[in-house]
């Protein structure tokens, strides 16, 4: 098999996505830690590092456009570039949500401590794990794993509904906690959205590997 110029470029593109994915995972992990450990310094660091993630996104966009224009990829090569171009803003948005969680942490950390919300931990753990697995599945083009991850999103959705109810209850019972509890509601919503974005990533892995569009399909994906 001949060595193709595009192979090297696609390898670099994959590496860049992997780096962006790693930075996104790290942002989410640190944002949650800043909240749980009431570490405002760490929260500010997450917000600062978001600029680096934005730059990574631009770098991938530029390279994807260059490959499309100069190498005119087809078939799997084409699907890879399309998937990368679509997965990159998804990762960037996940990082944005991590930033939003860090912002919430800055507010919550200044107020009285609210009792730990177990479902919030379930959501955070699942979101992090799903993100990690989705990135691995994308790199390995593992559609079986991707489909499994998509199904896991239900765990986050269910935990979100429970956390929402619990936090509203806390506000009703003790109005002095309203500011912090409202921020935790936002955190829950961000984690729920991250779950949705991870699902989008998995759908792109299926497109990349099988050329099948499973987005918006209800069952039997």
């Amino acid at each position: 098999m001949e060595h193709r110029i595009i192979d090297q470029q696609l390898d670099v593109l994959r590496d860049k996505v992997l780096l962006l994915g790693g930075a996104t995972e790290e942002a989410l992990h640190r944002a949650m830690r800043s909240l749980v450990e009431r570490d405002s310094k760490l929260a500010r660091q997450v917000l600062d590092d978001d600029k680096i993630i934005d730059q990574m996104e631009i770098g991938i966009d530029r390279m994807s456009a260059e490959i499309l224009a100069l190498q005119q990829p087809a078939a799997h090569d084409l699907r890879l570039v399309i998937s990368v171009a679509k997965i990159t803003p998804v990762l960037e948005r996940i990082a944005d949500h991590a930033g939003n969680i860090a912002e919430a942490a800055l507010i919550i950390n200044d107020g009285p401590q609210v009792k730990p919300i177990a479902d919030l931990s379930i959501m955070a753990d699942n979101a992090s794990e799903m993100l990690k697995q989705a990135l691995d599945a994308f790199m390995e083009e593992d559609t079986e794993a991707s489909r499994k991850i998509i199904r896991q999103d239900k765990i986050i959705d269910d935990a979100y509904r429970r956390a929402f109810g619990e936090l509203i209850g806390i506000i009703i019972n003790d109005p002095t906690t309203t500011t912090s509890a409202a921020q935790l509601l936002f955190v829950a919503k961000h984690l729920e959205r991250i779950g949705d974005y991870v699902k989008d990533m998995c759908e792109l892995t299926v497109y990349l590997t099988e050329a099948a569009f499973i987005k918006h399909s209800r069952a039997d994906f």
Partner: protein, 251 residues
């Protein structure tokens, strides 16, 4: 019913078999691209569709090529009429050493298609318009065809092919010797022409096949590896061999 229906077509140059059991259906008013590495048989196959290979001694064809349901390899087939119905444009433009007008009118005259001078002129104009050349040559119809640019000469050859009112046009790498602007004009023309004709185009330019065709046939070593809708072929081909070829892994 398909415009062209080929089944189990074998073709031999002497003892060497160049095509192996080719079967495919070409619908009317579609553009079909033939792609594949040099020597894969795509041009040979193209030429079996209007029996151009008859001119090569020692060739033999087996199997069936039906056009509008008629087997073109039957003895009773009028080959001249067949080639009128199935016109051809070659890789290198080959205008006659005559005027632009004469190049286009030649086929009409020898086939006695026209009714009088005015009709002949009308047919020449129509063919030149269909080949998107009329506006560029209408004021110099009586000048030599050799005064035209390469791209214009190729469109003149297309006009010449269209003048005898074919139903199918075979194009063997029609833009391979042209610059990008002239190539673009030929490609636009191909897409335009499919309203009235069925077009088969052999090309080495994969992007050209992707741009102009509705279906693509990939040949290798005299065999048809895959025949599929072009959008499917270039985003998700069924055959690994096709994927390897269109992504430049060999050939």
């Amino acid at each position: 019913m398909s415009k062209i229906s080929v089944s189990n077509l074998d073709f031999y140059y002497g003892k060497a078999q160049a095509l192996h059991a080719i079967s495919l259906e070409i619908p009317q008013n579609e553009v079909v691209a033939f792609i594949g590495p040099s020597g894969c048989g795509k041009s040979t196959f193209l030429r079996t569709l209007n029996r151009m290979n008859d001119t090569i001694p020692g060739t033999r064809v087996e199997g069936e090529v039906l056009i509008d349901g008629n087997d073109i390899n039957e003895q009773k087939t009028d080959v001249v009429a067949l080639r009128r119905k199935v016109g051809m444009v070659f890789q290198k433009s080959n205008p006659f050493p005559k005027s632009i007008f004469d190049n286009v009118s030649y086929g009409i005259q020898i086939n006695q298609i026209h009714k009088g001078k005015a009709d002949l002129q009308g047919r020449v104009e129509k063919a030149l318009r269909n080949a998107a050349l009329w506006d560029e040559v209408k004021d110099r119809l009586n000048t030599s065809a050799f005064g035209l640019s390469g791209g214009q000469q190729q469109r003149l050859c297309i006009a010449r092919a269209l003048a005898v009112e074919p139903e199918i046009v075979l194009m063997d790498e029609p833009a391979s010797a042209l610059d990008p602007a002239a190539t673009q004009k030929i490609e636009e023309l191909v897409v335009e022409l499919k309203r009235d004709y069925t077009i088969i185009i052999v090309t080495h330019n994969m992007q050209q096949a992707a741009r102009v065709s509705d279906r693509t046939a990939f040949f290798m070593l005299g065999k048809l590896v895959e025949y599929n809708r072009t959008d499917k072929m270039f985003t998700n081909p069924d055959e690994k061999l096709t994927e390897d070829y269109i992504t430049g892994r060999f050939g």
